[in-house]
Amino acid sequence: MSEHQITAEDLVLAYGDRVVADGLTTEIPAGKVTTIIGPNGCGKSTFLRAVARLLKPRSGRVLLDGKAITSMRTREVAKVLGMLPQSPTAPEGLTVADLVAKGRHPHQSWLRQWSSDDETEVDAALRLTGMQELAARPVDELSGGQRQRVWISMALAQETDILLLDEPTTYLDLAHQVEVLDLVDKLHADLQRTVVMVLHDLNLAVRYSDHLIVMREGRIVTSGPPDELITAELLRDVFGLDSQVLVDPVSGRPMIVPIGVRRSAPTVQH
């Protein structure tokens, strides 16, 4: 089990004068995969940024093991909590190995810049994500799915108990989305990391999460395990989506089937 605990206490988040989220209070279960879902612009990425101390809350606090995260040394936080921002870009020509090695930054100092520990962690991260063979390739030459795996490797090399992922599956096709999420699942199952992520695809969120936080218009509507949470009613209230919730034949979890304007009858008509 991950021994570190994150709690949000009455967060108010704003960009300049524009308040994006208000009154966010929640506890992130340790050692579990938590996914924040909600319609576009509901403040879920902003919330994740605040948890990662990339955004300073206007009021309220994010607590890491009971201490306000903004009062801790940012380097110490970086040893416990890693964050993969939304669609990050690597400098042109930077190799996979170099980028992943940057994950060791919080464990290094100007005097002690590279050690065998670092080497071991970088190798392990590359092996876990299956990127060893591509270690010498420039990141900008890789495909979208490979690139995402490299960034996740960097976050892994940081060796943090808590890993925050902001839309790790953006721009990926379904097969690669599943691949990335399988990797996340492995981190949680094999290494007992706490994972918090933002996802757009509701069915994948349900499938891969132990805990969901549902947001709408800058507020947390509800949170809990997907089985209990996901109902046609919730989807209508939060997303304005008419749907049927069935049982996923593969996972046994809820599966959302949207009801759009265009639909086919159970039997095919010509």
Binding site: A52, T74, P91, L94, A101, P106, Q108
Partner: protein, 334 residues
């Protein structure tokens, strides 16, 4: 960070090149001295006459040249790394133009007063560079610094400052304007130890701060959010580095005028020789030093008419960068 044998080899190679260029440059003049003899004198040998010619007459000029080249290049490497944009160098963003405008203001309006040239010009150049740096930073800041926005604002500010400088030259006394024009082209003429020593101290101090920050710089290159997630205090490190970079550029402008293109070209040349993803700080500095000292040799010896060094650096630097970019593209597309 990671052990890079190629980068170390490039650094050593460049260091040797700079030394040889200094020897070559110092050896040339009314009383020519060969490169090996010059090297011997610089390393402590030679007779009294040679020592006088090399140490007292000729060396300061080359030393100012190499310091200024290194300073401009380092300044450019820092801006380019932080903004992740090769166009964001102090000469294109208007920082050297700001330092120049400050200096020209003192030359034109301050008259020939003693205080005006020895203290007033450097102080005004510093102030001009810093104010410009702060102004473009504030104008470009929007929840962080974004390279493209910074370049647009910098180019505009650069234009305004060049116009201001021209205006001062037009309304100023003809003699002052003449003096200012030579200096504005970037010149090493008549530089002595009195110029070299203060420049060396200032560049040494600021350069050390900059080199010590390369560790943070390597994380800053990944973007603000990623750097912050890795535990870097982004605002603080950026501010320290950018202030150091502005001071470096202003110091160089004070010592030799706004020598064109070095801050922009040297880091880009260095990263292509060393094949590193971003501009390597030390290799950039050495490349800048080699470019300025080499250009000074061209300006003094190879050309029929002796030109200010800045004209030569611009003429050499531009095409050389284009050559490197084309060659790199060819290699990638093959």
């Amino acid at each position: 960070m990671v052990w890079r044998p190629r980068l170390v080899a490039v650094d050593v190679g460049l260091l040797v090149l700079v030394f040889l260029l200094v020897c070559l440059n110092v050896g040339q003049g009314d009383y020519p001295i060969s490169v090996p003899d010059t090297a011997k004198v610089i390393l402590g040998g030679g007779n009294d006459a040679e020592r006088f010619i090399v140490w007292d007459l000729r060396l300061p000029r080359s030393v100012v040249g190499l310091l200024v080249g290194a300073g401009f290049a380092m300044s450019g490497a820092i801006w380019q790394s932080i903004t992740r944009n090769p166009l964001a160098s102090p000469d294109l963003l208007g920082i050297t133009a700001g330092a120049s405008a400050g200096a020209v203001a003192v030359i034109v309006f301050g008259g020939a007063a003693f205080l005006g040239t020895t203290i007033g010009v450097p102080a005004a150049a510093m102030a001009g560079g810093l104010v410009t740096g702060v102004v473009i930073y504030l104008l470009a800041w929007r929840r962080g610094i974004e390279g493209f926005r910074l370049v647009l604002i910098g180019v505009a500010v650069n234009g305004i400052l060049l116009a201001l400088t021209n205006w001062m030259l037009v309304i100023g006394e003809i003699w002052d304007a003449q003096e200012a024009t030579v200096w504005l082209n970037g010149s090493l003429n008549g530089r002595g130890w009195g110029d070299a020593v203060p420049a060396a101290i200032a560049l040494g101090a600021i350069g050390t701060v900059a080199l010590a920050s390369t560790f943070q710089l390597s994380a800053l290159k990944l973007g603000d959010d990623t750097a912050r997630a890795l535990g870097v205090r982004v605002q603080l490190s950026q501010s320290v580095l950018l202030i150091a970079s502005v001071l470096l550029a202003a110091m160089c402008v004070t010592a030799a005028g706004p020598i064109g293109f070095i801050a922009f070209v040297a880091p880009q040349v260095a990263l292509r020789i060393a094949r590193t993803p971003g501009p390597p700080l030390l290799a950039s500095a050495l490349t800048g030093a080699a470019l300025v000292v080499g250009s000074d040799y061209v300006a003094r010896v190879l050309l029929p008419v002796e030109l200010p060094v800045g004209i030569v650096t611009t003429a050499i630097g531009g095409p050389f960068l284009m050559y490197l970019i084309i060659r790199t593209n060819r290699r990638l597309s093959r």
